[in-house]
């Protein structure tokens, strides 16, 4: 088996270096602003859903349907259990 030529290795190294710099910069940025765990249901709903698609109004689903939709979305959005519960509580109160 031939060794990987530099052409193959360089992009990987470049990507990793850029990512390391970005990660340090961005993690430092995390220190500013309100704490993530203190965010309210409406705030989490607006921030996380709108990151990928238009936000559907709370009245578009009933309580049981929102439970399912939130389970479906929590994995893609990286929501924690407590964040999912906050969003669910808000949507059920508002629908």
């Amino acid at each position: 088996m031939n060794r990987k030529p530099m052409k193959q290795v360089l992009p990987t190294v470049a990507v990793l270096v850029v990512l390391a710099i970005l990660a340090v910069t961005l993690l430092a940025g995390c220190a500013a602003g309100p704490s993530q765990v203190s965010k309210s249901g409406p705030q989490l709903w607006g921030e996380n859903c709108a990151r990928c698609h238009n936000v559907r109004p709370p009245a578009s689903l009933n309580d049981a349907e929102w439970d399912l939709a939130l389970m479906h979305m929590r994995t893609r959005a990286g929501l924690t259990t407590s964040e999912t519960e906050k969003v669910g509580t808000f949507l059920k109160a508002a629908n």
């Binding site: 088996m1 031939n2 990987k4 030529p5 052409k7 193959q8 992009p11 990987t12 990507v15 990793l16 850029v18 990512l19 970005l22 990660a23 961005l26 993690l27 940025g29 995390c30 220190a31 500013a32 602003g33 309100p34 704490s35 993530q36 765990v37 921030e47 996380n48 709108a50 990151r51 990928c52 698609h53 238009n54 936000v55 559907r56 109004p57 689903l61 049981a64 349907e65 439970d67 399912l68 939709a69 389970m71 479906h72 929590r74 994995t75 893609r76 959005a77 990286g78 929501l79 924690t80 259990t81 407590s82 964040e83």
Partner: protein, 380 residues
């Protein structure tokens, strides 16, 4: 990953899940929701006949208990006079903790952000996906779905968040036959060209499993930057290419927010992927097999214009590149420029009009073709 390590991981997952299921036991919910999306297209290319097309992707969601969930998406598509069906994903989820969820089955590839998040037609702001990231239109570099197991979650960090997804899957094979046909969906012979990855197999071609992951940082809610990787052996077991491996690295970015200065909503999305395949020094794979693709997309909707009509329109621009290995039997690099205008009727109902210009370059010639596409898409 070797067989022992994988067996140990599966055993640990089985033990922990069995214990957790025993604890949650009662209060079955057994609720079902049918969601999904549908679309109708009119496609008018500069070369070849114009066509109407239609598709329907129902999504089935079923929650058995508070922490047990199953989801599946089917795809129905008219193509060449027949209705093609596909199982886009089907997986069981177990919520193991605040920041940990296990999944098993066929799942959308966490490192292919377009496939995992944007493929529904009411979410994708253009009528098709970017080159290299889907099975449509040329060589596909990164898989849209894997069959295996995954663990993922999000961890709050101060005002931001860290998210992760790690997975074990069957992984792709590699095309080693010069005239092997491409995927039925693609319609492009280059998609099955020797040296390209074969994502069509539902069963693995060797004992080695693909290991992959994506890690992302969200320093602010409007910004997400992720890094993904995949590594696997892709040669057929006991063949002369058994030790051939591949490594995929990708970087993705999502930024969107309301910007008062431009009285609207700005959305920026992009991803870069690099795929390196080992050179075994044996024909026909004896070339530097290093491919890459990237796209960047900018869209703007004047949501704060004050006029509901004006606010219902959205402009989209996307640029894409697909670079294939210079020494490959098929080396047709592509670039594509897309301009789109969308009219939103509701948050999940949209009419799209798009103009796309694709340039294909190989060693001897350059070819340009354009296509105008109208798409009506609904999410439900």
């Amino acid at each position: 990953m070797n067989r022992f390590a994988m067996s140990a991981a599966v055993l640990m997952l089985t033990i922990t899940s069995t214990a957790a299921f025993a604890q949650t036991g009662v209060s079955p919910r057994n609720t079902v929701l049918v969601s999904g999306f549908g679309y109708a297209n009119y496609i008018d290319p500069s070369e070849g006949p114009s066509n109407f097309a239609v598709g329907l992707n129902p999504v089935f969601l079923w929650q058995a208990q508070n922490d047990l969930f199953f989801e599946a998406e089917l795809e129905f598509e008219l193509e060449d006079g027949v209705t093609n069906t596909a199982l886009e994903y089907a997986q069981a989820w177990w919520v193991a903790g605040n920041s940990l969820t296990f999944g098993a089955g066929k799942f959308l590839n966490p490192t292919n952000i377009f496939a995992e998040r944007y493929h529904p037609t009411w979410i994708n702001k253009l009528p098709n996906g970017p080159l290299g990231f889907t099975a449509h239109g040329g060589v596909q570099l990164t898989n849209t779905a894997h069959t295996g197991v995954q663990a993922r979650g999000g961890i709050p960090i101060a005002s931001g968040k860290f998210t992760y997804a790690v997975f074990l899957a069957n992984g792709p094979a590699i095309h080693t036959e010069v005239l092997k046909a491409g995927p039925a969906k693609s319609g492009d012979p280059a998609a099955g060209a020797v040296g390209t990855l074969d994502f069509n197999g539902t069963e693995d071609n060797n004992d080695n499993k693909l290991v992959g992951g994506r890690f992302a940082v969200l320093p602010w809610s409007s910004l997400e930057i992720g890094y993904g990787f995949e590594a696997a052996k892709i040669g057929d077991m006991d063949s002369e290419f058994a030790d051939v491996g591949t490594t995929t690295n990708s970087v993705d970015l999502i930024f969107n927010r309301d910007v008062n200065a431009i009285r609207g909503h700005l959305d920026i999305r992009g991803q870069y992927v690099n795929v390196a395949v080992d050179n075994p020094g044996i024909a026909p794979l004896d070339f530097d097999n290093n491919s890459s693709a990237w796209y960047s997309q900018l869209s703007y909707r004047p949501s704060k214009s004050g006029s509901p009509l004006v606010a219902s329109f959205e402009g989209v621009f996307r640029y894409e590149e697909l670079d294939l290995p210079e020494g490959a039997p098929v080396n047709a690099d592509m670039t594509r420029l897309s301009f789109g205008l969308n009219r939103w009727f509701s948050p999940s109902t949209v009419f799209k009009l798009a103009y796309q210009k694709k340039t294909t370059r190989d060693e001897v010639e350059e070819d340009e073709d354009t296509v105008v596409t109208c798409q009506f898409a609904m999410g439900f």
